[in-house]
Symmetry: C2
Subunit: 293 residues, 2 copies
């Protein structure tokens, strides 16, 4: 795949806004996320303070975003980005086993509202993973537990079920999961993860469930995990008023950069991030590929 100018991760108001403005500026972009837009938009009952759309229902705002992307010819690439690596003069985005190259990256992935589970951070990379597509091969023929925070994660569990000997699914949301036969569904609140005799244990209020690998699948991952080396403040990415992060070429916008968690604030920041990314690319071109910030 040809290197794009701007990779935008996230399809909430920040990511959509960044995509519209970047595309308007004739930048070659990729927008990663979901055609359903972010859950936070699509599931909102009614938004009273989004200027220009009085008392808009979340599903209608999501629909308006989709229509606008379509009319601007912007596709949504429905791939999950597991990590972003700074490669010197470009960035490599890991989407499963695929690597996608981009000159700049705009992070609009939202904020991780949930606190990590007890044991989660300690065991990350040692039997605990955030990315089914990336790490499924490690558990071929073995057992996997999937802790899913939204119904969007069910297809990841289904994919693991093709690879692993057995998959146990812990839905952390309401509604009946739609999963292939053979996946065991445990409706108990997960309280933590532990290590025992070379395997992992998912602890719930009701019991303990052993597995070789534990997949914790949320809408958003912590920014410092997504982009190694990025300066953060608690769950947020540090940015200035131009939406520049501590890494030149990486911009961020929306809930990921801090409160207030508001739709139009996110949309405004997406606009600024896109313009800053476009300006960064122009500066780089002028300097013959070099960019000193």
């Amino acid at each position: 795949m040809e290197r794009v100018e701007i990779a935008i991760i996230g399809t909430g108001p920040a990511g959509v806004s960044a995509a519209l403005t970047a595309s308007n500026r004739n930048k070659r972009i990729l927008l990663f996320g979901s055609r359903e837009m972010s859950q936070k938009v699509a599931k909102a009952h009614e938004i009273r303070n989004y200027p220009g759309l009085p008392f808009v229902k979340g599903e209608d705002l999501a629909g308006a975003f989709r229509e606008q992307l379509d009319r601007m010819g912007i596709a949504v690439t429905e791939k999950r980005i597991g990590a972003v690596y700074a490669m010197g003069d470009y960035f490599a985005l890991q989407a499963g086993e695929e690597m996608i190259e981009a000159e700049t990256v705009i992070l609009a992935t939202g904020v991780v509202q949930a606190k990590p589970l007890p044991g989660e951070e300690e065991l990350l990379g040692r039997g605990v993973s955030y990315c089914a597509t990336c790490d499924a091969p490690l558990y071929r023929g073995k057992t996997a537990a999937v802790i899913g925070y939204s119904s969007a994660e069910e297809k990841e569990a289904a994919f693991l079920n093709d690879v692993c000997a057995k998959v146990t699914y812990f839905p952390m949301y309401k509604g009946e999961p739609d999963l292939p036969e053979g996946v065991e569904v445990i409706r108990e609140t997960v309280t933590g993860i532990a290590q025992a005799d070379g395997h992992r244990v998912v602890k719930t209020e009701g019991g303990e469930y052993p597995a070789d690998g534990v997949f914790i699948l949320r809408d958003a991952v912590a920014p410092g995990q997504l982009v190694p080396g990025l300066e953060t403040e608690g769950p947020h990415v540090k940015v200035n008023r131009s939406m520049e992060t501590s890494l030149p070429g990486v911009f961020a916008c929306g809930d990921i950069v801090g409160t207030p968690y508001q739709y139009v604030k996110a949309a405004g920041e997406g606009n600024v991030a896109a313009i800053s990314a476009a300006a960064y690319i122009e500066r780089k071109k002028k300097n013959g590929g070099q960019n000193n910030g």
Copy 2:
């Protein structure tokens, strides 16, 4: 008039957004501007990157803003604020001869695009004024020249015509001014203002026109003139990411705080400014009327 909690000056996307969010948070507000919304919105041909309103015409966006304000029960107070004075624990807003009190102020007046005229800054307050309503009494029975930058200024000229012996009007825009009989219209580009023998002189490419007072009337005034003591950077107000200015209790948003001059960026900042103003008021209440920033 009872002291309001938040006075919002400006009815572009920033001011409208601030009003919607402040009202949503049950703050007592006054929104100063025009029912026509800002000229920059109303006159826009087509806006391609306002998320949720694909390819929206400026007049339609202005109409949507108006509808939303109406549905939220927010009135637009069509008064021009000439100055904002910090009075210790509140602010006094000068609207003609009226003084309006507010606990906090949100500046959303847009940016002054025009450079000052030669002589304008030197003679300001010495025969040159930005506010017809404020300074008309000084020129009762005398002659006044009005340099109007938009048709909205014609009613100011008409008002001066009731008070002054003679009014000369210099329209700095296209279209035929709608003015009372007796007002002389000079269609020549103004090049500067000078002082001579106790009166002022408006210089144009075509000649020189003497007057006792010269009124320069633009959509927006420079922020440092509007709010004495406010820290500025060129034509912009300095703010942090919470839209706080150098004066505690004064917030700013939209074009007035800097580039990019974009509709959704302004709307997003208006939202943040309103939330910061609401938080400031809550802190002040908790501290029994004192606020240390």
